[in-house]
Point group: C2
Chain length 105, copies 2
Amino acid sequence: MSPTIEKQAKIFNALADERRLRILSMLKGCERCACAIKDELDLPQSSLSYHMKILCDSGLVTDRREGKWTYYSINRSGCMFAAGLIETIPTVEGGCCPERKGDEQ
Amino acid sequence: MSPTIEKQAKIFNALADERRLRILSMLKGCERCACAIKDELDLPQSSLSYHMKILCDSGLVTDRREGKWTYYSINRSGCMFAAGLIETIPTVEGGCCPERKGDEQ
DNA sequence: ACCTCAAATCCAAAAATTTAGATGTGTTTA
DNA sequence: TAAACACATCTAAATTTTTGGATTTGAGGT
């Protein structure tokens, strides 16, 4: 079964914000705690928390609590899944253009 | 030079809407004129036009005028470009986590 | 128990997006 | 030239998202 269109939109929505793209970029290769991201991007704490929730809910990022701190990191499988969604877009499936049957290329 | 974060956000924003995802799905494999999309999705004409503009501006879709009609189709290179953007996210670049040096896997 | 800190959640205001009717533009047909 | 058509653009209202201060929760520390 293919992923629901709601889930797809949710993932792309998480990526559709410059701040969140910057956060993802910061998480490349290593996890970071919320305060480090907040300081580097100079965001109010509640605002950072809001964006991290969107990233986590989309599946692109995971969080890990450790004592008082929350560490965030890239969820590789979530990102690979997202990349796959776009790759299917320019794929010819056939059958949608009867008037063009046999007209590939 | 890597694509600006604004351009990336613009592309993902175009993908972050269920209607637009449906439109992209309709365009798989063949071009369609605006009226066909409008009828199939049952959208007011101005609304369809609004969404098509977002898709075109993002580079995911191209338009072609032919007389009174406008035909839309997937812009493969735009989609491949978008897929590539996500693939780079979970890529370890190194250098961002000095305290974890040599700690891969 | 009390205080501090990290972070989530609440909430109302601000900003941005989306909607859909009205209007404008360019094309085709009569 | 006029009328019909396809579509873009304009516009204001409706809706959604984002912001940021205040509050809450939960984990240490003293």
